[in-house]
Symmetry: C2
Subunit: 485 residues, 2 copies
C-alpha cells in the first residue's frame, strides 16, 4: 500500500513534495538550487551524485558526522531500553555527574530536555520563579530558540509576536561596527546600557550566548560579561549563559564559552553539540536556584529528556571530545585558520573583519572598509561559489553579511587550507563592478544600508535625509529609493 521502495527522488521532485507537505516557512540552504545530501562522515557531506563537500556549517555534528562511537552508543541503548526518567537508570546519573564535572561550582543541578528551545524556555521559567521578576534582557539580533517565549527574547527571527512585553533588548557588543570600538573599554561601555536597564526594570534574567552566533559570530569584548553579571545581580536578576553554539570545547581555550570571559553564570543552557545530532539538551543551575524553584512547587518532567538513549549518546560525545582531543584541535586548527583568513583579509578589501575563537569564526563582508557599508550580496555570491567548488558555509548576522565558520570539531589543517584557498578563489573571481565605492554620494553614506548589485535600488533607513538634488540625480540615473522596515 505504501511506497517503501528505496528509489531516490530528484531534487526538483523533493522540492515539489516539500511544497505539498511541509510549511514553506521552512527555508532551505541555497534556495535557487538546494543541496540534496544523502550521507556524511566526519567533516564531509556527500550529495546524491557522490560528490563530497567540506562542511563548515554543521556545528551540530560536533565530533564529526555519524561518529561510529556515538552511533553505536545510541543504537545499543535503543535496543536495550528507552524510557523516561521516572524510573531509575544508571545512564542518567552517570551522565549528569560527567556533565556537571565540566562546570565550575556551584553549577551542579541538571534538567534534561530535548532541544535548545526547551532549554532556554526552561531557563527563563527558572529565572522567573527564582527572582519573582518577569523582564528578560537579551542582545539585539540574538536567537535563543523557537518556542513563544524564546521568540519573545530573540530579535533574530523575522516573526515577532506583539506579546513580548517582558523582553528588553540591548545593543550587540560589536567592536567592529557598534558604538564602542575600543577593545580596552568596549566591554565596560556596552555593559552600561544593561546597568541602566537592570536598574529601571524588574529583571528576572540576562541571557546571552557566550559568543554571538546569529548576531554575526561576534566575540564578546574583554570584561563584558563580568561587568554585565555584576550589574544584573546587583539588581536581583540572574545570568543565563546560552552555550548552545559555543560549548563543548568549540572555543578552543575552554570547554565552555563563558569561561573565556572569566565568569560563572547562574544558569547554563546547552544543545546541538551535546548530542551530535541526537535531539537532546540540558539546563544546569545552582543549588540556590534549584532550592527556590522547589519552593514554588514547580514540578518538571520531560518525556524524552534524559532518557537512557540520550544519556548514552551524550556520554559518548564527551568521551570522543576528550579522547580525540577535539578542544585542543579547535584551538590549534582554529588559530591557524584565523591567521590564514587575516592574510586573506589583507588581499581583499571586501573582507572587513575576521574574528573568532577556536572553531567559532566569522568573516564580515563590506563594500567599503571605511564606511563599513555591508555587502550581503557578496556574501551570497561567495557562499554560492564555495558550494559550487565543494565547500559549505552559511551566512548570518543582522545585515546578512557575515560568513559563518563552525564546522565539525574534527576539522583539520588541510580543511582549513582548502577553505581559505576556495575563499581566495571566490574573492578573486568577484565581478569588480561589485566592489566599487558607491557613486551615490548624494545620499548620506552612513544611511545607505544595502545596495543591490545592479545599482537599481538604494535602501535607506526610514528617517534618512534625501535631498531634492539627490532625488533629481536618482531620477536621472533611474535609481529607486526603498525604505527599510
Amino acid at each position: 500500500m505504501w511506497d517503501n521502495s528505496n528509489k531516490l527522488s530528484s531534487s526538483p521532485e523533493i522540492m515539489e513534495e516539500r511544497r505539498k507537505h511541509l510549511s514553506s516557512t521552512l527555508k532551505v540552504f541555497y534556495p535557487s538550487n538546494p543541496l540534496h545530501i544523502v550521507s556524511a562522515k566526519n567533516q564531509y557531506m556527500y550529495d546524491e551524485s557522490g560528490r563530497r563537500y567540506l562542511d563548515c556549517i554543521n556545528n551540530v555534528a560536533h565530533v564529526g558526522h555519524c561518529h561510529p562511537r556515538v552511533v553505536r552508543a545510541g543504537a545499543e541503548q535503543m535496543s536495550m531500553l528507552n524510557t523516561n526518567t521516572r524510573f531509575l537508570h544508571q545512564n542518567l546519573v552517570d551522565y549528569a555527574r560527567r556533565l556537571t564535572a565540566t562546570m565550575p561550582e556551584p553549577l551542579s543541578v541538571c534538567f534534561f530536555v530535548c532541544s535548545g528551545s526547551e532549554a532556554n524556555d526552561l531557563a527563563i521559567r527558572l529565572a522567573r520563579a527564582h527572582t519573582g521578576n518577569k523582564q528578560v534582557i537579551s542582545v539585539e539580533g540574538a536567537y535563543h530558540g523557537t518556542t513563544t517565549i524564546c521568540q519573545e527574547i530573540s530579535s533574530y527571527s523575522k516573526y515577532q509576536s506583539d506579546h513580548n512585553v517582558y523582553s528588553l533588548r540591548v545593543a550587540i557588543p560589536d567592536t567592529y561596527r557598534g558604538a564602542y570600538r575600543n577593545l580596552e573599554t568596549a566591554g565596560r561601555e556596552y555593559a552600561r546600557e544593561i546597568e541602566e536597564k537592570a536598574r529601571q526594570n524588574q529583571v528576572a534574567a540576562f541571557i546571552c550566548e557566550s559568543a554571538l552566533s546569529c548576531a554575526g559570530q561576534v566575540i564578546l569584548p574583554r570584561g563584558y560579561l563580568s561587568q554585565v553579571y555584576r550589574h544584573v545581580r546587583q539588581e536581583g536578576g540572574v545570568c543565563i549563559a546560552d552555550e548552545v553554539q559555543t560549548g563543548f570545547g568549540r572555543m578552543g581555550t575552554d570547554f565552555w564559552g563563558f569561561q573565556t570571559q572569566g565568569v560563572t553564570p547562574d544558569i547554563v543552557t546547552m544543545a546541538k553539540a551535546i548530542g551530535n545530532g541526537f535531539p537532546m539538551a540540558a539546563v544546569i543551575t545552582t543549588p540556590e536556584i534549584e532550592a527556590s524553584v522547589v519552593k514554588t512547587g514547580l514540578q518538571y518532567f520531560n518525556t524524552c529528556g534524559g532518557n537512557p538513549v540520550s544519556c548514552a549518546v551524550g556520554r559518548a560525545v564527551l568521551d570522543v571530545i576528550e579522547e580525540e582531543g577535539l578542544q585542543e584541535n579547535a584551538l590549534r586548527v582554529g588559530g591557524y585558520l584565523l591567521e590564514k583568513l587575516r592574510q586573506l583579509q589583507a588581499r581583499y578589501s571586501q573582507i572587513g573583519d575576521v574574528r573568532g575563537q577556536g572553531l567559532f569564526i566569522g568573516i564580515e563582508l563590506v563594500k567599503n572598509p571605511h564606511t563599513l557599508e555591508p555587502a550581503p550580496e557578496i556574501a551570497r555570491e561567495v557562499s554560492e561559489k564555495l558550494r559550487e567548488w565543494g565547500v559549505l558555509i552559511s551566512i548570518d548576522g543582522p545585515l546578512d553579511n557575515v560568513l559563518k565558520i563552525k564546522p565539525p570539531m574534527c576539522f583539520k589543517r588541510e580543511d582549513a587550507d582548502l577553505l581559505v584557498e576556495t575563499l581566495a578563489r571566490a574573492f578573486g573571481s568577484l565581478d569588480s563592478r561589485k566592489s566599487f565605492m558607491t557613486p551615490l554620494s548624494f545620499v548620506n553614506q552612513s544611511e545607505i544600508l544595502a545596495l543591490s548589485s545592479e545599482i537599481r535600488e538604494v535602501w535607506v533607513t526610514p528617517n534618512a535625509i534625501i535631498t531634492p538634488s539627490a532625488r533629481d540625480a536618482a531620477e536621472h540615473a533611474k535609481v529607486e529609493f526603498k525604505v527599510m522596515n
Copy 2:
C-alpha cells in the same frame, strides 16, 4: 579519568546521585521504593534483578519497547546521515507524505519538532498568527506540555506562572463527576461554557486532547467537539486537537482520537507514540492557516525536528502499526479489557467508574459510589500492590484517584487477564478500614477532598465552612483541618 566501568549502582546509590545532580522537581514513580529498570521488550520491563513487569504505563513505547524494526531504522540512518532540514532529504518528504495520508483533508502541511511541548507551543503560535487573537481556551486539569506557554494553558501542573493572562479554562466534560452527567446531552451542555467564553473574548484557539489523559482518562461525551468547534470557529478561533496521547490508533476505532468525535481540527499536534521513544513530534495544519502564517513573515526552523533519523524512525513506527495490526489489536484487547474491568467494578464498590476506548482506559476510585468521594489513597495502595506483584500502572486525574491504563499497543488478551486478576487481588486485599464511609460527617462532605489513611487530617478547600461543633468534634477525635492551596 572517568569511571566508564559498567558496574551497576544500587537503587539507593542512584537516588543519592539523583539528589546530587538532578533537580528534585523531577519526581520518580513509586517514590518510597523507586523502580530500577534496566531493559524492556514489547509490553514488558525488567528490573536490575531480572524481574519482569507488565507495563501499563508507557504509551510512549507505542509499538512495543525496543521494537527491532524501529531500532534498526534509527540505527541505520544514524550511521548514514543525521542533519537538518535545510538540506533536501528523501526521508523528510516520504514521511511527511505518509503522515499526512493518515489525516482527513485539508490537514496537509507538516511542521516537525522534537517534543509534544514544542508541538503545542508552535500550534499556539500558528493559531495566534492566523487569527491575530491571543486568548486560548483549554480544559481544566489538562496538560499540554512544559514550555512557558504550554504551562500557561495547562492547569494540571502545580506550578502556575502568573503570566497567564491569555489562558481561559473550561470545565472537564466529565459525565461521571461533572455538572452534566446525561450522556445524551452532556456534550452540548459542556460546549455551552465554551460558546460563552468564545463570545466574550478574542479567542485564538481552543486546544483539547481528543480524550483527556492527565485530567483523568476522560472520554469526551458524544457531540462535544463538534459543538465546541462550531462555537469557536463562529467567533474566529481555530481548533487544535492535541493527539500526543490519543493518536496512532490507540483509540482502536480510529487512527486519530478526533475522528472518534467526527470532527476535523484546524491544527493537530502529535508526539510520544510518533517516535516510540525517539524525541520527535509534529504539527499538521491546513493550507489556509499555513498561508496566513506565511503572510506574517514567520520563519520556522527546528535544528533536530524532521531530521533523517527521526523520519526513518517515524516511518518504521507507521509500518509496524500497519503490519502488526496494532490499531485493531487496541480495539479488540481494549474492548475485552474494558468488559473485564466492568465485571470487576460490580464486585468492588471502590471502583466508581470504568471508562475508555481502545487501549486508553481509566478506573476512577471512590470511597463511596453515591457521594463519589475520591479515594486517592486507595489508588496509591492498589498501584503499589500491583507493582509488588509485577504490574505497572500510574495514577492521575485532578483528584489523584484515577488508575491510568495506556500500555504499549502490543498488549495482549493474556496481559489484560493478568492485569485484571492482579487488580482483583489488590482490591480484595484492601484493608477494610480504608473503604469506610467517613465518620467526619460534621464537615460538609462535598468539601472533603482528601482524607489520609490514618484519619489524622482532613483537607478542606480554603472557603470550606467548618462549624464550631465540627471543630469541637475534631479536637475530641484529634483530627486536624488543613487548608488546601
